[in-house]
């Protein structure tokens, strides 16, 4: 199962990031077509395509766009979330570096659909080369008159904070504040960046839009499952023979992705566990990988598609140690706004650390589970719920391994 490459079709070209290469491969034709379409027609087409957000939440993109109040007279902002930071994910880096004009063209079309004249692209601060590449493409697009005639793009650099990948944290940061998420409602589509209606979309999501306009919603929807259209870019890393970005229809199974695309398991060659959608997704065991990699397929399997970052672990990997590494991440990146998250992430990291150091206590495992479950759903944003996914699943699915360390 290889399928057609859509987002990644030009990645092999060394000049894929240039306007010339983009035009040679059919670039900006969708924009020409979209200019002849009514904004609502674009929106309906995207709705029918079953495109879902590919940054993590998996929300239907067309539906999100439709939340912009129709009666609104003031400015509407399009914000692109290029603050890629979910552990195990690296797809947006490839798109920014290798096909920046696809994002610009998708933004032009999306902006027409939501009637936005200004967009901000929030690129994570560490992505210096992707930021340069994308900024050059924006300059090219201005010189070629795609931009500057009723639509402007401002490229904004983040400054190092995972929480700014959360859409309201991103908005706070864009407004020149620390990246604290905001309580919803109001949702950004009603009151977002600088107080105006705002749509925040992931890079990869928007890169799909020109193809949907060019080839039609029905074509895109047919690539995927009943509830999610298209392909997506899976970032595969960890103990596999060929780590990398793999584009596949969302109906691909995790087993196919690991064994047919990424070349199978390394280490001792025997699969132990897989993180299927970035570190915030609950872990799956070796016998849970016959699951389709679409949003609902993974949801039904008790985990999530998230950002499609797949991290593979063979039998030689220590799950308690892996949890400690993941717990350290959440402790470091908690923004500190909500008490359950700020306190729990810190304490759970300390507990996992002492377990791995051989100083674990018998009650530690139940303490982590208790703290995790009590805090879930009590915070302003989804960050802590994302931390709870690994806390609970690593311990519940590999309890024996933890107990062996604690009771030693």
């Amino acid at each position: 199962m290889t399928g057609e490459m859509i987002l990644t079709r030009n990645f092999a070209r060394s000049d894929a990031h240039t306007l010339r290469a983009y035009l040679e491969t059919g670039g900006y034709r969708a924009w020409a077509k979209a200019q002849a379409m009514e904004p609502t027609a674009i929106l309906e087409e995207v709705k029918r395509s079953n495109l879902r957000g590919l940054g993590g939440a998996g929300f239907p993109t067309g539906t999100k766009w439709s939340f912009i109040p129709k009666s609104h007279a003031g400015p509407v902002y399009l914000v692109i979330n290029a603050d890629e930071g979910e552990p195990g994910t690296f797809k947006d880096r490839y798109l920014l570096e290798r096909d920046p004009h696809a994002l610009i063209e998708g933004m032009l079309i999306a902006a027409r659909a939501i009637r936005s004249a200004t967009a901000f692209v929030y690129v994570r601060g560490e992505y210096v080369e992707p930021w340069r590449r994308f900024s050059s493409a924006v300059q090219e697009a201005y010189a070629a008159q795609y931009l500057g005639h009723g639509f402007d793009i401002v490229v904004h650099r983040g400054a190092g904070a995972y929480i700014c990948g959360e859409e309201t944290g991103l908005i706070s940061s864009l407004e020149g504040k620390k990246g604290w998420p905001k309580l919803k409602p109001p949702f950004p589509a009603i009151k977002g960046a600088f107080g105006a209606p705002t749509i925040v979309n992931n890079v990869e999501t928007i890169c799909h839009v020109p193809h949907i306009v060019n080839r039609g919603a029905a074509w895109f929807a047919a690539l995927g499952t009943k509830t999610q259209g298209g392909t997506r870019m899976y970032s595969v890393s960890g103990r596999v023979a060929r780590p990398g970005v793999y584009e596949a229809p969302v109906s691909i199974t995790l087993r196919q992705l690991i064994y047919e695309r990424a070349g199978g398991v390394t280490g001792n060659g025997r699969l132990k566990a897989v993180v299927p959608g970035g570190s915030s997704a609950a872990i799956l065991t070796a016998d849970e990988i016959d699951v389709t990699m679409d949003v609902d397929g993974l949801k039904n399997a008790g985990t999530m598609a998230g950002s499609a970052g797949v991290i593979v672990m063979d039998e030689t990997v220590s799950i308690p140690e892996a949890l400690m590494v993941v717990a350290r991440f959440y402790a470091h990146e908690s923004c500190g706004q909500c008490t359950p998250c700020r306190e729990s992430t810190g304490w759970i990291y300390k507990i996992t650390h002492r377990i791995v150091e051989g100083r674990g206590r018998k009650e530690d495992l139940d303490t982590i589970l208790d703290v995790a479950k009590r805090g879930a759903g009590t915070t302003i944003c989804a960050f802590y719920d994302g931390a709870v996914g690994p806390y609970i699943s690593y311990i519940e699915k590999f309890r024996g391994e933890f107990e062996a360390m604690v009771l030693k």
């Binding site: 400015p75 552990p87 994570r124 400054a159 904070a161 504040k177 600088f194 890393s237 970005v245 892996a322």
Partner: protein
């Protein structure tokens, strides 16, 4: 802020000012956002590139450019990891220690750098050449273990490759 309050690395406020050209750039950046305050992060980057790090007097100066309180700017500077609040070394080496890099041997790479530079993560080598950091996912997991050296990503690290990279840092 009064002088001599003991803040480490305190610099002379008089030296922490932008040139006319930089002030024009500040105004240009501010004009890109519906509220000029949106330019605070980019202007803090400018400040850091100019002065090497962001001191308290520099925070105060930047605050005046935005009509913000120094406390607001301090809150922002301390929230993000890419603003340095003390002078870093001439190069900053940030090793990813998250899961994919961990599985690929990041702890060994960090141990090697500690031994080579004689510092722990968070410290700067005695000759002022390198600040070593151990950081969260830099999203280049396909090439783990990896690290960022100033603006560059260095991928698929081995101790030998790390040595070669260190030799190239003046």
């Amino acid at each position: 802020m009064s002088e001599g309050d003991g803040y480490p690395g305190l610099t002379d406020p008089a030296t922490t000012v932008f040139s006319e050209a930089q002030l024009a750039e500040v105004r240009r950046l501010q004009s890109l956002y519906p509220d000029p305050r949106g330019a605070l992060l980019p202007v803090l980057y400018m400040a850091q590139e100019t002065f090497g790090w962001i001191s308290l007097p520099l925070e105060e100066y930047v605050a005046t450019l935005f009509g913000l309180s120094p406390a607001h700017v301090h809150e922002v500077v301390t929230f993000y990891t890419l603003y340095f609040r003390e002078p870093p070394g001439r190069h900053v080496v940030s090793v990813c220690h998250n899961l994919s890099c961990h599985l690929a041997g990041a702890p060994g790479i960090i141990a090697h750098l500690r031994q080579r530079l004689g510092v722990d993560p968070g410290e700067t080598s005695e000759d002022g050449r390198v600040t070593l950091l151990s950081v969260e996912c830099l999203c280049a997991c396909e090439a783990a273990p990896m690290m960022q050296v100033d603006d560059r990503y260095e991928l698929n690290l081995t101790p030998t490759k790390v040595d070669r990279i260190l030799e190239g840092l003046a």
